[in-house]
Symmetry: C2
């Protein structure tokens, strides 16, 4: 694979993001990808042998990108709480534009192709949060909570809200209620 090949491969992945976010997984066809990339189906097939492979490549690219996020912030010595709050703020921002989320596509993919992908992504997400919580405890910001338990709570609320928001608008109160609940468990009563 030469420079040109690699470039188009990346551009196909990038262009298909919006497609999967808008239509889910099974509803995206190679024809759709053609339209957003201005390529022929034949051309596409020399990069990805199916929409499944394309979607897998997209997920891989996404996870790679998010891997570094929290690591960077903690590396600079930022406050754990502020990282947490910002993270939820960006969720609120994101779910205001549900057409930017791959959640439903991922659920569909898990259900119809390979259920493992969700567990895998779940585990990756959990590790990220665990690091942050431990970092917060070490800095004395958070109580000595049960890290696994609180991470589960964060993860499920976070993802649940994200998925739900795709089909029904969320009120800001809901985000705040969830954030407050988590903060309460991490740093004690906040009222």
């Amino acid at each position: 694979m030469t420079a040109k090949g690699e470039r188009t491969r990346e551009s196909i992945i990038d262009a298909s993001y919006a497609l999967f976010a808008k239509k889910g997984f099974k509803q995206v066809t190679m024809k759709d990808v053609c339209d957003v990339t201005n390529m022929s189906r034949g051309g596409l097939y020399s990069h990805f042998s199916s929409t499944s492979q394309l979607f897998e490549a997209l997920l891989e690219k996404m996870t790679e990108r998010s891997e570094t996020d929290i690591q960077e912030a903690t590396g600079k010595g930022a406050s754990a709480l502020s990282i947490l709050v910002e993270s939820f703020a960006s969720l609120e921002e994101e779910t205001g534009h549900p057409e930017d989320s791959l959640s439903i596509a991922m659920l569909e993919y898990a259900q119809t192709v390979d259920a493992h992908v969700m567990e895998q992504l779940n585990r990756i997400g959990a590790e990220k949060w665990k690091k942050l919580i431990r970092y917060g405890i070490k800095r004395g910001e958070f109580k000595a909570v049960d890290v696994d338990e609180i991470v589960n709570l964060i993860l499920y609320s976070y993802q649940g809200v994200r998925m739900w928001s795709m089909v029904s608008p969320m009120k800001p109160e809901v985000y705040h209620s969830i954030t407050e609940n988590i903060k309460r468990q991490l740093i004690g009563e906040t009222r």
Copy 2:
């Protein structure tokens, strides 16, 4: 429509439940429905003109059934808290068998056919919960909370957990953490 017609119509709906729960929405074909009903496609089409219509009929039947649930319990003067707790216990039971849930099919349907259905079901669910909370407040079991806000929290946690559990196993702690959180908001500190 005669007796026989009505009976087969119902049996088609009943038989298709497992199909939608297992495969989602778009992945269910009339051929699939044939297999579980032992009918021909032609025969099916004289009852439902598409899988969308079949799915809509299924949703309608489900909501009708759940409509009466809480109403019955409150009618008998049961404790609001026990109804709430039982409701979450049954969620835990249900999500232990994710193949019994229509959540992903509903998300898919909302995304590809008609987003309104989710809002509608959401509203129906919300009404049910609101009644219960108001009932609990009237009986003095619950604090005079903001009903809308707490119902949002319940609804989103509830649905979020349900959806997420379909692709990744949930630990019991998570259910309890969520239930405790809601109880805390409803009846004050429980620790």
